[in-house]
Amino acid sequence: MSLWDYANPRKFMETSAKVLPLIWTLAGLCLTIGLIWGFFFTPDDYKQGSTVRIIYLHVPAAMMAINAWVMMLVASLIWLIRRHHVSALAARAAAPAGMVFTLIALATGAFWGQPMWGTWWEWDPRLTAFLILFLFYIGYIAFWQAIEDPDTAADLTGILCLVGSVFAVLSRYAVNFWNQGLHQGASLSLDKQENVSDVFWYPLLVCIAGFVLLFFALVLTRTRTEIRMRRIRALEARERLV
């Protein structure tokens, strides 16, 4: 069984119908457990006080904002190189989820920044890169809406996705590239010495798992909808010919 078998819409619909209930359930469970654990059962941070609780939404949302764009990039490249329609539709399906995750990261960051930095917004490298990424998401979605021919839309949005990837990378590494601005470096690291304390780390891991699963559930569900829309257009076109 090859991965490319899922490029067949029929195979994709069959397999996704089987796994989706499990992914939705796991996503709901992880998010409920992680957010309740983080909000109600973790202590205040010695520096940031109760605002540390914002980490359970802000960090997973920011991670998934970038990862969603990376997934769109991979799917777009598959479309541009191998012309598999399901991959183009999956990229399209991921964009609204990525846009909402970016918006959550920006909004929670502003609410967190105001008491900690004394400002809602600063033209800091990471914040600015995230804002540009958000604008790229809006442009990407608008591009799909604006172009009537789906193959042309997939081609052009695929190229836009390649260009936007620069800002997805900058959103992640801006703090390292320009050692300036208000935003701190990475809160999470494989190096245990650099990580947040375990009392915050474990609920955060559960929340990250919840966001990843939610993203998969949303992308699969929305891709199924896009495949159906494509079939509707084909059937309606055939009706018009008869």
Partner: protein
């Protein structure tokens, strides 16, 4: 039940309110659009006497 959030209560509650609100809106919009499109396809296939794969 709600922990004492002290002087940062607004920042924390606003973050959770906006974050969860956006997530719920995204999930509801996704599910409702999926349902609407599925029904539309079923109606067309019924009209044309076809079955969906």
């Amino acid at each position: 039940m709600i922990p004492d959030l002290g002087k940062y209560a607004f920042a924390v509650l606003a973050s959770y309110g906006s974050g969860l609100g956006l997530l719920i809106a995204l999930v509801v919009a996704t599910v409702l659009r999926g349902r609407k499109v599925r029904h539309r396809l079923e109606a067309i296939e019924k009209r044309q006497g076809r079955t969906n794969g």
